[in-house]
Amino acid sequence: MASSSTWSSSNWVMESGDVPHVLAVDDNLIDRKLVEKLLRNSSCKVTTAENGPRALEFLGLTSGEQNPLNGRSKVNLVITDYCMPGMTGYELLKKIKESSEMKEIPVVIMSSENIPTRINKCMEEGAQMFMLKPLKQSDVKKLTCQLMNRDCEI
């Protein structure tokens, strides 16, 4: 079960043929390994981060630092767990959406808990989609298909 916004309004939908680079954020090691495999099976390049601050660092959004990629890393999608110690997935989402360089990047929130107020809060803050854990291969395939703007048969 997932809530989602339309993709057509996002100018981060890629040219078909490109390999998406996904940043996957989760404090749980097993979940990181799993989401990485699911994404690789869907032909994505994957970078994982174990918390929000590391994710922001990778995206070049850490204040006061020069991003070696000139403020724009080539990440096409961020997928993050909601419940993380320190910075939650929601807070990470906010920081991304508040930045001028990265606010258009689609951010997907994952959670093991199906809480409507949580889902609404994330969608209102601009999350592309909310996905329930544990993730299924079919969900991830659908997600990456949409990202690559292809017609997919699931």
């Binding site: 404090d27 749980n28 090691l29 097993i30 979940d31 390994k33 799993l34 495999k37 699911l38 099976n41 419940c83 110690p85 093991s112 854990k133 544990p134 299924k136 291969q137």
Partner: protein, 155 residues
Amino acid sequence: MEVGQMQRQWVDYTKSLVFEGFLDGQFLQLQQLQDENNPDFVVEVVSLFFEDSERLLNDLTFALDQNGGVDFKKVDAHVHQLKGSSSSIGAQRVKNCCVAFRNFCEEQNTDACLRCLQQVKQEYCLAKNKLETLFRLEQQIMAAGGSIPMIELSF
């Protein structure tokens, strides 16, 4: 025992683990993720789960052993992690124990939490033994030149 027999034994054993509730559909999903590029994927993930869980169970034992007052937030955080990992690999009974455990954390009920900890340790041991048995069967099949069968998700 010849390969066909071992494969049938493996299928029956996996099905029985699902039927008895030790494993759920998520474990079968994991098996479907395994391929020639990652032939050891399931064993790797489950081994990570074993390491992670043993650490969490130790942390929980320590956290609940505080005579000066239990930090239920910390206990809950550990249980949440264990619930997440067990759910991700399909260790259903461990996960269910964690659900009950979290309720008692919320109630700040130390005795009930200690009972839950015992239960979750037991379920974890059972799950670990059964998974290790399953992996041993797999090794025997591969050593005999066979491959691990695919299990259909509906049975």
